[in-house]
Amino acid sequence: MTATIDRPRTGAPAPLRPGRPPRRPIDRLRDVLTSPKSGPVLVTAVLFVAVFIVGGVRYNGFFSGQVLLNLFVDNSYLIVLAVGMTFVILTGGIDLSVGAVVALSTMIAASLLQTGWSPGVVIPLILVLTSVLGLLVGLMIHVFKVQPFIATLAAMFLARGLCYVISKDSISITEPTFVALAVTRIPLGGGLSITPSVVIALAVVIVAVWVLGFTRFGRTVYAIGGSEQSGILMGLPVARTKVIVYVVSGFCSGLAGVLFSFYTLSGYPLTAVGTELDAIAAVVIGGTLLTGGYGFVLGSVLGGLVLGVIQTIITFEGTLSSWWTKIFIGALLLVFIILQKVLTARRR
């Protein structure tokens, strides 16, 4: 995303600006790689490809289109969560409530469907409720100056507690539409297929890319992360935007919950414990700066896929126990945070 500069293709390389030496492509490449904006995303992309190739070399049947597509199938809810989290983190905030809100959404879906509500009512209801919860959190943060960490922590407790109010046990979903959405495979030709959830997740990603990159709201989100004070002085609607990012995160958590209930076909109060950490990890590994201001939605998607591919490799390896996933994610987080630190330090 660093500005591409049109240069004459023939003739002697003319100086771009007076007094500045001509830039060779290698310099430009280095600039892109070391910019705090695009550097970490590119590193993540390279890492993803590298891990995938290593997996392909090591394991039979790993290097297939379906394994790649299954990353999207298994992580569609995580991608949606990471998209919502990206909005919040870009403003310099954080949302710890997403995992609990996912669980609450699966509980609401399962219990209402059990009593015979139509999915056409249940799904919009969940999205409205989780958006309202996000709105309340946003208002608490903006109006009452409660730190995002504490406000979203309260929302997390509330959502997790409400799960238990609905039911202590797992409720299975047998409603035909949900089951259909869970088992339908959309063929892509060549024996490859995806689920409707993937389509929904990708639609969310596209909308988010558009909103963050090309709307006033999106640019205000970046501006707040860069410097809230400057944003206010520039006359940007900082207050409104800061509240809305939490509504976006609440909405995405609700949608992720719906996708998760397609995936598991049940509601369970203890589901998705620690998912907020996965979502934050996906966003950080995807190159979004935790202090806000820099980052891309597509980076977060890549971050989510990196987490997914690690999980897949551990499954393929067979002998590695599941706890290595956590250790790997922790190590990756460390590497990426230090990388961000180094890149931003060079620029300042």
């Binding site: 109006v143 407790f157 509330l158 238990y164 126990s321 250790i327 922790g330 945070i337």
Partner: protein, 350 residues
């Protein structure tokens, strides 16, 4: 009189203490003998003692957390550190030929605490030397730490049969539960060290402006290392108490969500997450509020699992009451009332 009242109401400890008294009052109404403490076999028994004992691990971690938060930091990894500490102690006890020997238990406890200290130094290194935001630096250990704990226990729940170790969790010293004694000692040590010496002020100065305090000659880096190490050490101690209480190390569930409870205790106690000011007494009240709330939910007969909704309500209430917006609104209200009284007096005089 009025001034005294005003000072009490605007004190940072006012709302938390009111909250605690309300909770105790609810309990006394529901259970008239709530405040009774009896002596059985030379041990103290009663609901209050239960609250103190069950609240001890949270209090111990919250004390460490208070100092970290005072430096404008936060430590999310305490739950994971507690799990690692418990796992280390249990695996040493299981590996030894004589787990009931006090010497073996001492070795297990010391090794577990040294490992906790090392983890704290690691957090301190990430925060002070590399300069990573505390919430993220400790997030790394929070994520990876549970994995490490499972690596140590090999994914099993390690059950140990060791009388001296069990004492840590459920024993009594001079009639008082061991956990409460440990909690009181750690609280007293932290309070004396930071409030009777300049240490507390130095920690606060780092929280207000690390760069300025460094230029003023405060060793900000050493202080950061110290508070993170102390916080991890207290998490390790709490982990041992929790593990000893269950006589089993469960890498997944030991200390799960305890970081949140500890942070809540600190925030309810009026310590701002923005750093620079802290109140250990407030943290004590905060930890008691949380544990009393949990106990109240039990005694009133609400399903205990719904506790989280009440925790959310308490956090929200305390945060909103302490918020600058609410304070400003209160101040405005007071001013308007004062103005009206003045006007009434004026009218009466003329």
């Amino acid at each position: 009189m009025n001034a005294l009242l005003l000072r009490t109401v605007s004190s940072r400890l006012f709302w938390p203490i009111v909250m605690l008294l309300v909770l105790v009052l609810i309990n006394v109404i529901a259970f008239p003998d709530f405040l009774t403490v009896t002596v059985k076999d030379g041990h103290l028994f009663g609901s209050i003692i239960d609250i103190l004992r069950n609240g001890a691990p949270t209090l111990i971690i919250a004390v460490g957390m208070t100092l970290v938060i005072a430096t404008r930091g936060i430590d999310l990894s305490v739950g994971a550190v507690a799990a690692i500490s418990g796992a280390v102690a249990c695996s040493i006890l299981l590996g030894s030929s004589d787990p009931g020997n006090p010497g073996t238990v001492a070795v297990a406890v010391i090794v577990a605490l040294i490992i906790s200290l090392v983890l704290g130094v690691w957090n301190g290194f990430l925060v002070s030397v590399i300069g990573i935001q505390p919430i993220i630096a400790t997030l790394i250990l929070m994520t990876a730490g549970r994995g490490v704990a499972m690596l140590i226990t090999e994914g099993q729940i390690l059950t140990v049969d060791s009388a001296p170790f069990k004492e840590l969790g459920s024993g009594f010293w001079f009639g008082i539960p061991v956990a409460v004694v440990i909690g009181a000692v750690i609280f007293a040590v932290a309070a004396l060290l930071t409030r009777r010496t300049a240490l507390g002020m130095l920690i606060e100065s780092v929280g207000i402006n690390p760069e300025a305090s460094r230029q003023a000659g405060v060793r900000a880096r050493v202080l950061l290392f110290t508070v993170y190490a102390f916080c991890a050490l207290s998490a390790g101690i709490a982990g041992l108490i929790l593990t000893a209480n269950q006589t089993a190390a469960d890498a997944n569930n030991t200390g799960l969500f305890i970081e949140l409870d500890a942070i809540l205790a600190v925030v309810i106690g009026g310590t701002s997450l923005a750093g620079g000011r802290y109140s250990l007494a407030g943290t004590l009240v905060g930890a008691l509020v949380i544990q009393t709330l949990v106990t109240t939910v039990y005694t009133v007969g609400i399903p205990p699992i719904v506790t989280m909704v009440f925790k959310a309500a308490v956090v929200t209430a305390v945060c909103l009451l302490q918020s600058p917006t609410t304070n400003a609104a209160f101040a405005q209200l007071r001013q308007r009332l004062a103005a009206r009284t003045a006007r009434v007096k004026e009218a009466a005089a003329s």
